[in-house]
């Protein structure tokens, strides 16, 4: 199987969907002539032309709202946010309009829109550019949010998102864009709402999404090699809908859970996961559920300190060792 980068996987997914469905259109800042701020859409303008690949002005509330309106009439816009951190200037459109139109119309209207872009810290871009708003999105019924960690998942989830009839928000990671992984040639999708066991293990479940999945895999290897602790790594992939069964089965098997995310702790995604585990697997737990989140402050600029603020491998290793 060929190895391609996470970035290429996203581009392949969008390209294949553009070719499959004439209603798919890519809209965003610098996606066309500039070839994408992070080169995710590189070469697509040349290949598909300006009707399908559209440069938007810096006007997120305007063009995201416009995409929502167009999707009500059956267009399938894939809107790029240069950073998910920029979503807040379009919050009314993203949260209020996209999530509510179907409900308020009694199911008469669908909003098949995709909004995608990076949502991660770790690149020294400061507090305004380092947000991970998956918890806000997941708190909003009507919206779906996925956070792929690998090239394979990025492609399969992006294709599923574009084909989905509900609004699906795809949160990527600039740190992962250059990381390669095996991706098959043939057409495939990954069902939204399906978690993935990235590493099987018997002693403790490390449950994560997005880049922390990669962090957990590295920590799991160290824990195996140096401490003979056998970690299972559960990649949520989709936050809402959530694959509760896979989480619960894993915790029932291992009896221990460490939840790792880049989100802030208060009302973060893992607060919900912790509730879920105590609710459905309390009797199987051999130790209290542990959480590792970003340190609870705005994203610091200073590069070495930002490394400390985010969940790194050594922190995960240390937290797991505390359970044994």
């Amino acid at each position: 199987m060929a190895e391609i980068t996470y970035r290429q996987a996203l581009k392949d997914a969008m390209s294949e969907e553009i070719e499959r469905d004439e209603n798919v259109v890519i809209i965003g800042e610098e996606v066309a002539q500039y070839n994408g701020a992070y080169k995710v859409t590189e070469g697509m303008l040349a290949k598909y032309g300006e009707k399908r690949i559209v440069d938007a002005p810096i006007s997120e509330a305007g063009f995201i709202g416009m995409g929502i309106g167009a999707s009500m009439l059956g267009i399938r816009p894939v809107m790029e946010l240069m950073f998910w951190s920029f979503a807040y200037v379009a919050w009314d459109q993203i949260i209020n309009n996209a999530a509510s139109v179907r409900y308020m119309s009694g199911g008469l209207i669908n909003v098949p829109i995709v909004i995608r872009g990076p949502a991660n810290g770790g690149t020294s871009v400061g507090a305004t550019h380092s947000h991970t708003p998956e918890n806000f999105i997941a708190n909003t019924p009507g919206l779906k949010v996925v956070c792929p960690a690998t090239a394979y998942d990025a492609k399969g989830l992006m294709k599923a998102a574009i084909r989905d009839n509900d609004p699906v928000y795809v949160m990527e990671s600039t740190v992962l864009y250059g990381i390669a992984g095996e991706v098959p040639e043939e057409d495939y999708i990954i069902p939204i709402g399906k978690a993935d066991i990235k590493r099987e293990g018997a002693d403790v479940s490390l449950i994560a999404h997005s880049r922390p999945v990669i962090t957990c895999l590295k920590a799991a290897q160290i824990l195996k090699d140096e401490h003979d602790i056998d970690c299972e790594v559960v990649d949520l992939r989709s936050i809402r809908p959530l694959d509760e069964d896979t989480i619960i089965e894993s915790v029932k098997k291992t009896g221990r859970a460490v939840l790792v995310e880049e989100n802030k702790p208060f009302c973060g995604v893992d607060a919900q996961i912790a509730y879920l585990i105590q609710s459905r697997a309390f009797d199987y737990l051999d130790a209290p559920i542990q959480r590792i989140s970003a340190i609870d402050a705005p994203a610091i600029y200073s590069p070495p300190l930002e490394k400390l603020q985010l969940p790194e491998v050594d922190v995960v290793v240390k937290k797991v060792l505390e359970l044994f």
Binding site: R102, M104, S105, G142, D164, E244
Partner: protein, 371 residues
């Protein structure tokens, strides 16, 4: 700075006094049949009687939340809706009852929606502010001031993308023109040649704040702000349904033939408060002001009088229209009373397409977290 900007005018001026006899001869109006003209009256009267009846239902405590009445503004939407072809679409604010009825939604489904009944147009899930009828090219009913303006641009974008010669009439109030989303929509509409018509229904007050206290604008009025985006604009008296039709028709033709946007300011007036919960509405304006509109500028009265003077409408026919509209409104109130509330299960229906159509989707997992 060496140059000094001119001070902004305080009040967006109304256009000249209306002259329906003259406006009836304008190209868009001159071929109207008597039946069509009478039907415009009938539809406006239906909107008013529906809303008057809904006010009573509200006062009986059967309607929750807000009730934003359109009484006094009926000629605006009726003029616009009377021009809609198969590919012309409409989206508006929370003051949406007139828009809904004018595109052909029934009083029954609208009144039932006000009462939160399962037979409402949105199954009781939207309420007064959120009526929808996509089968009639009506895309809501939106609660956040200015929030619908990018959606309106998007509807126009979809039409253009599909190669359809149509338009989207996107209504907003004078209070919405200061929202960023509106300006972003204007820029996109001009930049991308979108066939959208932004129709500012200027009723003089953004909730309790008069237009003089809320908006800065150039000499020509609120729509003249469109100059800054190189968009054509016009200022129209909403008292005359004929004048509305004339101005809006030019904008529709521009949308159809040139795929260009237009901004229209239509001067109008609401007799009721911002919503029925607005107990202050006689404090931020005088009783005399309201009465003056009712007596001398009411768009339905002006039009009814014109039809009678033109020999198109008799007193009896006028009374019959009124009687029928009252009866229809009364029946809708009864229909709403007799209708059931939605079942509790309805709370989590119509949230996700993939949940409501789980046999047709690959999406899986837990969508709701109520356990």
């Amino acid at each position: 700075m060496s140059s000094k900007a001119k001070p902004s005018p305080r009040k967006s001026k109304k256009s000249d006094a209306v002259d329906l006899a003259k406006e009836a001869k304008l190209p868009i109006n001159k071929d109207l049949s008597d039946d069509q003209k009478i039907d415009f009256l009938r539809q406006m009267v239906r909107i008013r009687r529906f809303e008057e009846r809904s006010l009573r239902v509200y006062q009986q405590g059967k309607i929750g939340g807000f009730l934003h009445l359109y009484i006094g503004q009926e000629s605006v939407v009726m003029g616009c809706a009377s021009l809609m072809g198969d590919d012309d679409h409409l989206i508006t604010t929370y003051r949406d009852h007139g828009h809904a009825l004018s595109v052909g939604m029934t009083m029954n489904e609208c009144m039932a929606e006000l009462q939160g009944k399962a037979t409402g147009c949105s199954k009781g899930k939207g309420g007064s502010m959120h009526y929808f009828a996509p089968d009639k090219n009506f895309w809501g009913g939106h609660g956040i001031v200015g929030g619908q303006t990018p959606l309106g641009a998007g509807i126009a974008y979809a039409l253009k993308y599909k190669g359809i010669k149509g338009s989207c009439m996107c209504f907003l109030g004078d209070g919405a023109i200061n929202q960023g989303a509106f300006h972003e929509s204007l820029n996109l509409a001009a930049l991308w040649d979108l066939p959208v018509i932004f129709i500012i229904e200027n009723n003089g007050y953004s909730m309790g704040t008069s237009q003089e206290r809320s908006s800065a604008f150039p000499e020509g009025g609120l729509a003249a702000r469109a100059e800054g985006y190189n968009i054509e604009w016009d200022s129209i008296s909403g008292e005359s349904i004929y004048a509305v039709r004339d101005g809006v028709n030019k904008a529709i033709e521009r949308a159809h033939n040139e795929s260009r946007p237009t901004v229209l300011e239509i001067h109008t007036y609401r007799y009721q408060g911002h919503s029925i919960a607005d107990a202050n509405h006689k404090k931020y304006r005088t009783k005399e002001e309201i009465e003056d509109y009712r007596q001398t500028r009411d768009p339905i009265n002006i039009y009814r009088l014109h039809l009678m003077e033109a020999g198109i409408l008799t007193e009896e026919a006028s009374k019959q229209i009124d009687t029928e509209a009252r009866a229809e409104a009364e029946a809708s109130a009864q229909f709403a009373d007799d209708s059931p509330y939605p079942q509790p299960e309805a709370i989590t229906e119509d949230v996700y397409w993939s949940v409501d159509n789980d046999d047709q989707t690959t999406s899986q997992g837990t969508h709701f977290f109520n356990d």
